[in-house]
């Protein structure tokens, strides 16, 4: 999956960074002049070398401190990987239950896969096979491709009867790609009862935006950062020479800082678990108790009756069983994610130690770390020692939301985050990612950096600093990013 990029110099003299495959065709058809022979390139997805692999539990969990915690981690991990069918035992090999009636994929690990269970979008998009799994009869939307990123779709605005967006009615809710209609275990929930959202129309009206999975390695460490630590960092950036001034998204109920998701829209891993189980897989649970209709259905008559197949909540606390099996799936998903170790940086790959060290110093000098900062955890953890204390863990994010400009805006508002505000993406684990930015628009690290510049972005000055560097200096930054 290594993706290499070149710089094409267009006739009007502006640099454009493109994927090499695209570059080749553009080159032939438009007869553009020189390809920059000495431009920085993304060396591509970093391979795993020894202990650099992500997906392990924290050390203290690995040494079973406190006793039995490792068995909770392992159980959570296997539940995270379970493929769901509609009802228990209805399909061989599909251990989970409660799928649908609407869904985006069939297991947490299908989407959170690269480079290990808990990660981000894999090289082969599981949503391609999900469309027709177990007899389902879904049409694959144009934006879902076999080698493209896993995508969650949201409609920007509600539409009139003819599919025209009503720009005074923001929608922003997730539109599940698929329904269970046609599956061998779907019962009366047939294609006559339920249909997919009209993605063709949404694409034609440019009324659909995408989100790719955020990896959850080290998520427990993010969860455990004190609010004061975050506020202190924010205060320390007052007067910074990069024009950066972010804010925090807050949980609407208790007003505390929320921190998970592309817009920092969610407070905790457990809430995210419950919501993801409900939204991505259609499984009702103790946190999100009903089967989830589409936003439009919710405003009309809800889900069709024949499609409400199981008693709810489908996932719940299990009684009369072992300690480890007692918690619900949602609780155990959260426990697994919380106990995952942070991704480890490679000291040497790609480009060698000198280039990576230099890249880090450059990254900091030009102001990338006015947003992408490392913060120390300061609160002791009651769960396991590995989550507390003050270890150095480089999440490379202030967990603030920042204006990223018209180029990245997705026009979805979540909490206090407006259409162009996003949580500073934590950069740990970046080296082994295949797709970048909230919608997975690129696999090229260089493009991911370029996209920070557009009208209204807080990162514009930093990007000008980046453009003041020499090609080898830029290459060092890219190597540093790929070492993470």
């Amino acid at each position: 999956m290594a993706v290499i990029s070149d710089v094409v110099v267009q006739p009007f003299g502006k640099e454009v960074y493109v994927n090499r495959r695209v570059a080749a065709s553009v080159f032939v058809s438009l007869l553009l002049i020189p390809i920059g022979a000495f431009s920085q390139v993304d060396p591509g997805v970093r391979g795993t070398v020894g202990s650099d692999t992500a997906g392990h539990p924290l050390n203290s969990v690995n040494s079973d401190n406190p006793a039995t915690i490792l068995s909770f981690f392992n159980d959570g991990k296997s539940r995270f990987q379970e493929v769901d069918s509609v009802s228990h035992g209805s399909i061989m090999g599909e251990l989970g239950a409660g799928l649908g009636p609407r869904y985006n994929s069939r297991s947490c690990a299908a989407c959170h896969a690269q480079p290990a269970v808990g990660g981000s979008s894999p090289a082969v998009n599981p949503q391609f096979a999900d469309a027709t799994a177990d007899g389902a009869t879904n049409t694959i939307p144009s934006f879902i491709t076999l080698s493209g990123p896993v995508r969650e779709a949201r409609f920007v605005f509600f539409t009139d009867g003819a599919g025209n967006p009503i720009t005074t009615s923001p929608n922003g809710g997730v539109e599940d790609l698929y329904t269970i209609a046609g599956r061998s275990d779907a019962g009366l929930c047939t294609a006559a009862a339920i249909s997919q959202p009209n993605f063709t129309s949404a694409v034609a009206h440019n009324n659909v935006i995408f989100r790719i999975p955020t990896p959850v390695f080290g998520a427990g460490l993010l969860e455990n950062i004190e609010e004061t630590t975050l506020l202190n960092f924010q205060a320390s950036t007052v007067g910074n020479p990069f024009g950066v001034a972010g804010t925090f998204n807050h949980n609407g109920n208790d007003g505390t800082i929320s921190r998970f998701g592309w817009k920092a829209q969610n407070k905790s891993l457990e809430i995210f678990s419950g919501e993801a189980y409900n939204v991505e897989m259609g499984v009702s649970n103790e946190l999100f108790t009903q089967e989830r209709p589409l936003p439009e259905e919710d405003m009309a008559s809800g889900l069709p009756t024949p499609c409400k197949i199981n008693a709810t909540p489908e996932d719940h606390t299990n009684f009369n069983t072992t300690a480890v099996l007692t918690p619900s799936d949602a609780v155990q998903f959260a426990m697994f994610m919380r106990l995952l170790e942070a991704p480890k940086q490679s000291k040497k790959f790609p480009g060698g130690e000198t280039s990576i060290t230099n890249g880090e110093a450059l990254f900091k000098s030009i102001g990338c770390n006015a947003c992408h900062t490392q913060i120390f955890s300061q609160s002791p953890s009651a769960i396991t020692p590995g989550l507390g204390g003050t270890p150095l863990f480089g999440q490379w994010s202030d967990l603030e939301i920042h204006h990223m400009g018209s180029g990245l805006a997705d026009n979805v508002s979540q909490g206090t985050a407006g259409g162009d505000q996003f949580r500073t993406a934590p950069l740990w684990g970046l080296g082994q990612r295949i797709f970048f930015l909230h919608d997975g628009r690129t696999s090229d690290m260089v493009v991911a950096v370029q996209e920070h510049f557009s009208s209204g972005s807080e990162a514009n000055t930093t990007k000008l600093n980046f453009d003041a560097l020499t090609t080898p200096q830029k290459q060092d930054i890219i190597n540093f990013l790929r070492s993470l």
């Binding site: 202190n232 024009g243 450059l362 400009g405 000008l464």
Partner: protein
């Protein structure tokens, strides 16, 4: 030859068609039946708002005839030769930080040689307790990471008849130099940050500051005036939704003690409407300057108050 003509005709047609589409979109702000335009921020979060459209606002500066002009600060800054305006910055933050303008000198290879960022920090709303430009620069100095080398410790310099706090440092690894000059205007620290690899270009641009003017036609600004015994009548805004955002508001109070102008730096639209309606009913003790009633500009915070934290390195 005929083929070529046919091609250019179709090209002309395509161009005309695109123009026609963009024109029709421009004339129809609601775009009913339309396609959502790319690259536009349509769904807004907290944004600036004001009670009238005539009083100058800090965020309203623009480049006209080779000068950056900002009526709120009474600022006119002649753009150095060959420097060009860059993409606009973000809206004002809920901590009173403004990106006013960004200009850069870019060479033929698209390499940035030098750039200047013009910012303003509203001193009523900063997340750090800084009272003026000198303290802002001191905070920057105190928090400066060790990877930078100081080229000149903070000091003060007179430029165009004003006092500027000045600070210079560099990054050896990046080959970049920072020259920062900040001055107090209307209880804001207005800061020019020159950055670049090309020190001659930086020298030139910095010299250009001698030709600026910074003469706001403004009332006195007084921190905390709209509080305590100065408030004679007060109607609290009642918000329809709980949001936990901080809403910094600047007001100008007239000689009779009535609110003459309201500027919300960062608020949701419903919040702006509610706050403007409430503040219009407030009544203050007239502000006295040399024993005579005078207009005054001050700040208030609605929504969630900001926690003011320690200075870095202290």
């Amino acid at each position: 030859m005929p083929l070529l003509i046919r091609r250019s005709i179709s090209l002309v047609f395509i161009v005309w068609f695109c123009l026609a589409i963009s024109a029709s979109q421009g004339s129809n702000p609601h775009r009913a039946g339309g396609v959502i335009p790319k690259g536009e921020i349509l769904v807004k979060g907290a944004v600036p708002a004001a009670s009238d459209s005539t009083t100058p606002l800090p965020e309203d500066g623009k480049v006209v005839d080779g000068r950056y002009r900002n009526d709120y600060f009474g600022l006119v800054y002649p753009i150095p030769d060959k420097w060009s305006e860059q993409a606009a910055g973000p809206p004002p933050s809920d901590s009173g930080s403004y990106v006013l303008e960004q200009l850069a000198l870019v060479d033929r290879e698209q390499r940035v040689k030098a750039h200047v960022l013009i910012t303003a920090q509203d001193l009523f709303f900063s997340a750090l307790p800084v009272a003026n430009a000198t303290e802002l620069i001191a905070a920057l100095r105190a928090g400066l990471a060790p990877l930078y080398e100081i080229e000149r410790e903070p000091d003060e310099v007179k430029i165009a008849g004003r006092t500027f706090a000045r600070f210079r440092y560099k990054s050896a690894v990046a080959g970049l130099h920072w020259r920062i000059l900040s001055t107090d205007v209307r209880c804001h620290a207005v800061t020019f940050t020159f950055t670049g690899t090309d020190t001659e270009a930086l020298d030139d641009a910095e010299r250009g500051l001698r030709d600026i003017s910074l003469n706001p036609d403004a009332p006195s600004c007084v921190a905390g005036y709209a509080s305590g015994e100065n408030v004679l009548e007060r109607i609290d805004p009642h918000f329809s939704a709980r949001r936990y955002n901080t809403i910094p508001v600047r007001v100008i109070i007239d000689r009779e003690g009535k609110v003459k102008h309201i500027h919300l730096l960062s608020a949701f639209l419903d919040q702006s409407d509610t706050i403007i309606a409430a503040l219009r009913q407030w009544h203050f003790k007239p502000y006295l300057r040399d024993g005579r009633a005078a207009e005054v500009e001050t700040g208030l915070v609605f929504g969630t108050p900001r926690t003011i934290l320690r200075l870095p390195g202290k």
